[in-house]
Every structure is written in structure tokens, then in C-alpha cells.
């Protein structure tokens, strides 16, 4: 029986392909698995193997010719078989225009307030990887492709009927076949989906809602000249085997300031409040699943080197989800740093039952006034969110004043 050879989808973004070279002439024998034609996609030149054994009866798209995905490019069959039906059936390849029309219509259908989406739409929304819809692959190959984040549709299959099997995946992984990596999450444009909340996400949702509802927040911002801290860090790093970060210095500076201002290092307890004379400092760490705040304990007693070592270990274990509960509960104060994202200012929500949280912005280079002259300086904004039930504005301001003083005179940390 004659088989139609179609333009394959060789990449996610490919819409049409160019025939580079036919390796068989019309009338020549073709064996399953032999390379039949070289095709150029938008991403790479790729070889297409014959899925069947027979004679190459008709080349529909000659060398140099273009064809959209799914269009007939050749027919393989028995030497004397009648292929006229196949040829006439597909003489008009799907037109680009009609495709575009469909595309143009699709989004408006989605947006229309129809209670039940049309069946076609619904199907598209539930298909996890629409580009793989017509790719034949063994269950093992599918699993391997998923594990290695490969696009199955871009991998030529060497099994029966072009089925992608393990050896094809291995070929793709060894770099012989330029398989394209899939985006992290496949989704259908123009649709919405419901993603269940992870347990960590649920906890964050509950606690942040509670905090913002129960604690009247107010915010005080101060700008800090970071040039002394930068110089201090260079000195520390010249002496340290591991790299000391600004976060390490900020944790230490905050701990020192908290020792002077226990009102900020406080938990509200209804008819009383608990002031801590130690600084267990939580530092917000972003994970894929959500935020965790591992705690460096007794920072007031520890040197920056110790803080650095403990914090790195905590972050590492937080990423591997290996933190013990006592390592992320019981902080007296939290620091949240978005400076690495270039954020200059933000306000954070207090992490209950703590009384305050310090939001750290980026160190930015900008004109500052020093000794009556405008010079290029390095500054950092920090914003303290406080629970007004127990912390007043002047208390917050005095804490920040001391915090600023420490960072601008970091040698004081050595006292």
C-alpha cells in the first residue's frame, strides 16, 4: 500500500520546511530507516528517514521547494501501484491563509463569556503537550523525553511507523540530533488552568493574610551609604576563604541594632509583649514552591564568618527541602532582600509572631552629596515594616538610625 510522506514538524516554532536534498530519485527503492530527504526547518537542517520500505514513486516538493507542516512531499509505494488517488486527494495542501483565520478567531472564542467552551477548545485545554499529539513514541521514550526536557516532536523516530524509541532519545542526548528543549511548562496560549496550591503555598497564604489583617503595619524607609560596607566586605573577603555576602553583613548589623532596640525585637501577646534579648534572624529564601525563612540563631553572639557559614548551609538545605522545623520557626526578626533583582524599594509583610521585618533594596550607584559636593555614591534603601500595636514610629526610626550608623561605620561590628 502506498504511503504519503508529509512535511514533519521538526521544531516547536516551525511552520514550514524547505527541501534541501532528496537522497532518492523517483523510481528508486527505499528501505525503512534509510535517510530519504534533508529538510531545513527554522532551527536546523535535519534528515528524515523513510518509515516504510518500497519505491519512491513521486516527489511532490522538489529540492529548494517549501511546504507547510503536514503537506504531502512524496509518496512511497509498490512499483506499479496506482497512486493517482493519493495525489489528487492531497494536491491542495492546507493553505496558510485558512490557518491564520483559525488563529485569529481562536482568542476571541476564548474571551467570549460562553459558559461551556466549544468541544474543540476544551480538548485543547486538557491536552498537556499539544505539539506531541501526533508523535509516536514508546512509553519509555516519552518518559525519557520528559525527564530530559526534550521535545519529542523534534526527534526523528527510528521505530516502526517512525515511533520514537529509546535509542532516538539517546541519540538526541548525545547531540547527534538537534532536539529542542521544551519550555518548562507546556501550555496552550489563550487558555487558563487551575494549579493546585502546594502545602508551603497554603501556609504562606494563611500566615500572610493573618499578619496583614491582625497587625497594623507601618513603614519607615532610610537610605544608607553603602561605600563603607562595600570596603568592609572587600576586607573581609580578602581574609575569608568563603565569600562573605552583603546579606551576611546586614544580618550582623541588624542583630547589633536589635540588641540596642529590644522594642523592635518583640512579639505582641495581647495583654503583654515579649521582648527578646537575642537575635534569631530569619532570612527569606525564594524556592520554586514558595518562600521559606531559615533562621540564623543568636546572631548577636556570632561573627560574620560564622553567620556566613551557617546561612549558606541553611539555604542549601532549604533548596533540598531538608530543613528541620526548628530551623525555620522561632525567629525574632526577619530580613527580606530583593536587591539581587534590582529592586530599590519595597515593603514587606511582617512574619508573625514577630514585630517587624526589614526589606532590603539593591545597592545603586547614583549622585549623592558629600561634604557639599555632588559625587557618585553607592546607596541602599531599607524599609522597616512594624506592628504598630507594639512599635511606634519613633522606635522604628531610632532602630533604623542605629542600623544605618552601623553599616556606615562597619568597623563598629568588630567592637
Amino acid at each position: 500500500m502506498a504511503t504519503k510522506i508529509m512535511m514533519p514538524k521538526l521544531s516547536d516554532t516551525m511552520e514550514e520546511g524547505v527541501i534541501l536534498k532528496w537522497l532518492r530519485k523517483e523510481g528508486e527503492k527505499v528501505k525503512q530507516g534509510e535517510t530519504l530527504v534533508e529538510i531545513e526547518s527554522d532551527k536546523a537542517d535535519m534528515e528524515l528517514e523513510a518509515y516504510d520500505t518500497g519505491v519512491l514513486r513521486k516527489i511532490v516538493v522538489p529540492e529548494g521547494g517549501k511546504a507547510p507542516i503536514g503537506a504531502l512531499i512524496a509518496i512511497i509505494g509498490e512499483p506499479d501501484e496506482d497512486i493517482s488517488a493519493l495525489l489528487s486527494e492531497t494536491s491542495a495542501p492546507p493553505k496558510q491563509e485558512s490557518k491564520k483565520e483559525e488563529k485569529a478567531v481562536a482568542p476571541s472564542t476564548t474571551a467570549a463569556p460562553t459558559p461551556t467552551p466549544p468541544p474543540q477548545q476544551a480538548q485543547a485545554a486538557t491536552t498537556p503537550a499539544p505539539t506531541d499529539g501526533k508523535t509516536k513514541a514508546s512509553p519509555l521514550a516519552k518518559r525519557l523525553a520528559q525527564e530530559h526536557n526534550l521535545n519529542l516532536a523534534a526527534i526523528p523516530g527510528s521505530g516502526p511507523q517512525g515511533r520514537v524509541i529509546k535509542r532516538d532519545i539517546e541519540g538526541a542526548l548525545s547531540g547527534k540530533i538537534p532536539a529542542l528543549a521544551l519550555p518548562q511548562r507546556a501550555y496552550v496560549p489563550g487558555t487558563a488552568e487551575e494549579v493546585p496550591l502546594s502545602s508551603i503555598r497554603k501556609t504562606i497564604a494563611k500566615r500572610m493574610w493573618e499578619s496583614k489583617n491582625a497587625a497594623p503595619h507601618f513603614y519607615v524607609t532610610v537610605e544608607i551609604d553603602m561605600e563603607p560596607a562595600m570596603a568592609f566586605r572587600e576586607q573581609l573577603n580578602a581574609a575569608s576563604e568563603t565569600k562573605i555576602s552583603f546579606t551576611d553583613i546586614i544580618i550582623k548589623a541588624a542583630a547589633s541594632a536589635l540588641m540596642k532596640h529590644p522594642q523592635v525585637n518583640t512579639t505582641y501577646l495581647g495583654d503583654k509583649m515579649r521582648q527578646y534579648h537575642y537575635a534569631h534572624i530569619g532570612v527569606a529564601v525564594a524556592l520554586d514552591e514558595g518562600l521559606v525563612t531559615p533562621i540564623v540563631k543568636n546572631c548577636e553572639q556570632k561573627g560574620i564568618g560564622t553567620i556566613n557559614a551557617e546561612f549558606r548551609d541553611l539555604v542549601e538545605r532549604a533548596r533540598n527541602r531538608k530543613l528541620k522545623p526548628e530551623e525555620y520557626t522561632g525567629a525574632t526578626f526577619t530580613i527580606s532582600n530583593l536587591g539581587m533583582f534590582g529592586v530599590e524599594n519595597f515593603v514587606a509583610i511582617i512574619n508573625p509572631p514577630e514585630g517587624a521585618i526589614l526589606a532590603i533594596g539593591a545597592i545603586v550607584e547614583k549622585p549623592v552629596v558629600k561634604k557639599g559636593a555632588i559625587v557618585i555614591g553607592h546607596t541602599m534603601n531599607v524599609t522597616l515594616s512594624s506592628d504598630h500595636r507594639i512599635i511606634d514610629g519613633a522606635v522604628a526610626a531610632r532602630f533604623l538610625q542605629d542600623f544605618k550608623k552601623i553599616l556606615e561605620n562597619p568597623a563598629s561590628l568588630a567592637l
Partner: protein, 328 residues
């Protein structure tokens, strides 16, 4: 280790168990005075006397039922069918009494009985005397089906079967009785439901048992490994029910391909069930559909050429191996 024939291995198993437990006795057609149609019971009458080794009339339904009753009453009978083809006359006893008595009596009656004898085709015995019936017995809940492919397994499994509290279908092979093999010195048993990797390999897992494994598959494996440059892992489940699926799953996780070679017919065969279980349990490890080699789906022809063509043979195994490995 001593080398014995399969019939000697089975004989030793029965002899040792009769010595171990006086409730064990053997009955069947020609098992006593004639020393067994295939000489499996050689010398047992002389050693244990006519109370424990009994010749029966040619009445399978009768003596199978007698054995089941004896088991319910506390004895541990071994009932020999001259061949498993004749067990069909007693099928009602095996299926309705032996298999169901325990559950239908609410656990009051165990039926610790072993039905044993040769199964499958020998040579030129025609359709009614050449049947591989493991699938129709394994189909029945309440029966265990045991099919050894070596002398060592045969002795160890038969001893375990005799000690089991449930009815056991123990299927041997006429053409294997003379096969010789090593067995361990002294007392040993092999648990039911535990298969064995008889040969390690990496490209395809081949599951087979009993005579087809012993007489057909081993030669095919040797030939095909050389011919195709492949490495075949051979698993003998040894017990058809309970089947050691875990062992097959682990192997398929490694090879990603499975071929089952069995003597029985294709429809609802043992391989069909294995295929389902593996597709279900190891789906994400399969690189090709599970393949089977079976007997042709016809009553086995008497004509030698057609008989040979109908049964699993090296050509069919070659086709199966190539198909499952996608070799043209």
C-alpha cells in the same frame, strides 16, 4: 553436586517427603506395580508398600475425587495423571472441589494435594494427547500451578508443593523425564511463586518455562545472540500461579523489552496475562510492545511437519526477538 535425570529428581522428592511425613501417599494409573508409566515412581511401591503407593483404575474423575477427599480428611495425597490431557476427565473435581473447598467451607477444609504428571506435546501424539493446559488451570483461583524446567527446580518445587496446604497443579513433561541435571546434595526446597533469572542479558527479557524453555528456548537464545549480536535475559518463573511479576518488572526496567515464549495457545494464554501485568506495572519502561510466541491457534496436528510448524520453534522465536527489538 550429583547429576540425576528429571524422573529421578521427582522420585527423590516424593521419596523424601514420604519419609518425612507418613500422611504422604501416591496414587495413579500404573504408579505402583508397573513403577510408573514414565518410571517416575520407580521403586516406591517396594520401599513404601501398597498402603502408600496405590494403583488406580482408569478413572481420573474417581481417583482425583478420592484424593481430594483424602486430603480433606487429613492425608497429603500425590495424584499422578498419566498425562495432564487425561485430567480433563477430572476437571470438575479439580476446579469445583479441589480449588473451591477451602473458601466454600469457610476455611474448615484445606485440600493439601498435589496433582502431577506430564503436560504439553511430546511427538506425534495428536491433538487430544498433546495439550499445554497450564493456562486453563492457572485461570482458576484456588489452584497453584508449578512448571519446572530443570532437575534442581523440579525436586525443590515438588517437595514444597507436597508440603503446601493448597491444591497444586504440578506439570512435568514426557520429553524431559530423561533430561539430566545437577541437584544439590541433601535436603532443599524452592519456594512457590519465586522465579529465577536463568541467564542475565541486557537487550530483551525472555520469559519462558518448562519444556519450551528447556528444549527450545535455550538453543534459540544461543543461536540468536550470536546471529543478531544481542544479549537476552532469560527468566523462568517456575511457578505459573502465583506468577513472580516483580522479577519480570525489574528485568524489563533494565531491558525495556519483553518476549514471552509459551507452548500453549495464544488466546487468554499465560503470556497474555503476563503481558497485561507488565504493560500495567512497567509501562513507562517499555520501548516496544510486549511480544509473544505461542503454539498456533489450532488443535495440534498429528502430521510431524505440521506439528513442528505449529509449536514454538527457533524460527518463531527469531521472529519474535526481531520484532520486539525492531530488527528488520
Amino acid at each position: 553436586m550429583p547429576i540425576v535425570s528429571l524422573r529421578e529428581a521427582l522420585n527423590q522428592a516424593m521419596d523424601e517427603e514420604m519419609a518425612r511425613d507418613e500422611r504422604v501417599f501416591l496414587m495413579g494409573e500404573e504408579v505402583a506395580e508397573y513403577n510408573g508409566a514414565y518410571k517416575v515412581s520407580q521403586g516406591l511401591l517396594a520401599k513404601w508398600g501398597p498402603k502408600r503407593v496405590l494403583d488406580t483404575p482408569i478413572a481420573e474423575a474417581g481417583f482425583a475425587g478420592l484424593g481430594i477427599g483424602a486430603a480433606m480428611a487429613g492425608l497429603r495425597p500425590i495424584v499422578e495423571f498419566m498425562t495432564w490431557n487425561f485430567s480433563l476427565v477430572a476437571y470438575d473435581q479439580l476446579v469445583n472441589n479441589a480449588a473451591k473447598m477451602y473458601s466454600m467451607s469457610g476455611g474448615h477444609f484445606h485440600v493439601p494435594i498435589v496433582f502431577r504428571g506430564p503436560g504439553g506435546a511430546a511427538h506425534g501424539l495428536a491433538a487430544t494427547h498433546s495439550q499445554a493446559l497450564e493456562a486453563i488451570y492457572a485461570h482458576i483461583p484456588g489452584l497453584k500451578v508449578v512448571m519446572p524446567s530443570t532437575c534442581q527446580d523440579a525436586k525443590g518445587l515438588l517437595k514444597t508443593a507436597i508440603r503446601d496446604e493448597n491444591p497444586i497443579i504440578f506439570i512435568e513433561s514426557e520429553v524431559m523425564y530423561g533430561d539430566k541435571g545437577e541437584i544439590p546434595e541433601g535436603e532443599y526446597t524452592i519456594p512457590l511463586g519465586v522465579g529465577e533469572i536463568k541467564k542475565e542479558g541486557k537487550d530483551v527479557t525472555l520469559v519462558s518455562w518448562s519444556k519450551i524453555l528447556a528444549h527450545v528456548v535455550w538453543k534459540a537464545v544461543e543461536t540468536l545472540e550470536a546471529e543478531l549480536g544481542i544479549s537476552i535475559e532469560v527468566i523462568d518463573p517456575r511457578t505459573i500461579r502465583p506468577m513472580d511479576y516483580d522479577l519480570i518488572v525489574e528485568s524489563v526496567k533494565k531491558t525495556n523489552r519483553l518476549l514471552i515464549v509459551e507452548e500453549g495457545w495464544p488466546f487468554a494464554g499465560v503470556g497474555a496475562q503476563i503481558s497485561y501485568e507488565i504493560t500495567s506495572r512497567a509501562f513507562d519502561y517499555l520501548d516496544a510492545p510486549v511480544e509473544r510466541v505461542t503454539q498456533e491457534d489450532v488443535p495440534l496436528p498429528y502430521a510431524r511437519n505440521l506439528e513442528k510448524y505449529s509449536l514454538p520453534n527457533i524460527d518463531k522465536i527469531r521472529q519474535g526477538v526481531k520484532k520486539v527489538l525492531y530488527i528488520d
